[in-house]
Amino acid sequence: MLETFNFRVILEYMPLFLSCFLATLWLSAAGLLGSLGVGILACGMRISRSKLLSRTAYVYIESIRSTPLLVQLFFFYFGLPSLGLRMSEATTGILALTLNSGAYMAEIIRAGVQSISHGQVEAAVSSGLNYFQRMRYVILPQAIGVTLPPMLGQAIVLVKDSALLSLISLPELTRAGQIMTSERFMPAEGFLTSAVFYLLIYYFLKWVTTWSQRRLIYLQT
């Protein structure tokens, strides 16, 4: 039973957990920023009129969405060195997270852009706005209201996905639990502590989601 649950060891390992907590935050933030960039780019390619660009983006998005992140991670981790590309674990991890989330971001942004009624675009065209101006002043400001909630949802998924980076031995929250398991054989203490830290991030992001939704509704009225 769990009556041997040892809080003192958790306290002893707290510095490790805190530094790993920061690592998880940092890795997910890097992945989020990167995936926003990749997502905007891929979405722009996907909805462009050029068939080549559109097809390329389609292949990228669908192949990412149809394969697990873990396989993509191993693909880069074991695959890139055989091409002569040697990268640190952190770079590989962020690369995998970015490319994985980027595909989902692209779809989220596309749904947002397509939710703008066609009349808006036509009005913008007849006002003489070019492609960039249409995006900047007409489509994106409206699309943000539609895309923000699923984007925050994707941020939550990203934080959880970053746990997989422990499997390529990056020091982050799940890895801290693994270290505690292997050094002291205390899996309950280790992984439950990791879970609590993840829940902290989750509830914070959930709170941001409800808060922003209230804000957005307020702004629209």
């Binding site: 394969t67 693909f75 959880k160 992984f191």
Partner: protein, 224 residues
């Protein structure tokens, strides 16, 4: 160089197919059980019992807020402390079933809420009991909202099943990981693993988007 590796890879293809079978077994079992449990929870959550709602809601939050990898480690390592020795396979199925039921519960309760309240009142005044209301009025209508994301969720869960390789279930990801130790061509080996997942997931994603179009067809036309 590549030719030799390719030949070795072709020779170990039976292992990959075995792994694929394991992936299908784990995710198939969990999806079936998870769907049943998820529907039950979703229906309870869509009902008006406050306590049941709060308990299920809190549990769903905990499961949605922690990584699947951590959940599976907790189940695999902590169950023995309660005197339940689990092999890797049942631990994987329990963890994935739990995950599936939580996500499906969310989808189902959203679907039930999408059915207008008047429908329920009408059903009550027609004299249908609780089960009949659910069976003949609420569920058939909520299916329109439930089905497309449900199939999408199945895809996510099949992909999540790759994580069970971390506790040693010899699914197709694990086979890839073992093979890459012998054949040091990560691109080739995990390209093959990715292809095997793609073959399962891509048709399901297409099915989900077809369902979405078909289910919303009559309704968007009505609006315009």
């Amino acid at each position: 160089m590549w030719g030799i590796y390719l030949e070795q890879l072709v020779h170990s293809l039976p292992f990959f197919l075995k792994g694929l079978w394991m992936t299908i077994a784990v995710s198939g079992l969990s999806l079936i059980m998870g769907t049943v449990i998820g529907f039950i929870w979703g229906i309870i959550r869509g009902s008006r019992s406050r306590i049941a709602k709060a308990v299920i809601g809190a549990w769903v939050d905990i499961i949605r807020g922690t990584p699947f990898l951590v959940q599976i480690f907790i189940i695999f390592f902590i169950m023995p402390e309660f005197g339940i020795q689990l092999e890797a396979f049942p631990a994987a199925v329990i963890a994935l079933t739990n995950l599936a039921s939580c996500f499906i519960c969310e989808i189902v309760s959203a679907g039930i809420q999408a059915v207008p309240w008047g429908q329920k009142e009408a059903a009550t005044s027609t004299g249908l009991n609780w089960f009949q209301q659910l069976r003949y009025v609420i569920m058939p209508q909520s299916m329109r909202v439930v089905l497309p994301p449900l199939v999408g969720q199945y895809v996510l869960l099949i992909k999540d099943s790759s994580v069970v390789s971390a506790i040693g279930v010899s699914d197709v990801t694990r086979v890839g990981w073992l093979t890459v130790q012998r054949i040091p061509q990560g691109l080739l080996v995990f390209g093959l693993v990715a292809l095997l997942y793609f073959v399962i997931c891509y048709p399901l994603i297409q099915l989900s988007s077809i369902l979405e179009k078909r289910m919303s067809a009559g309704y968007t036309r009505g609006k315009e």
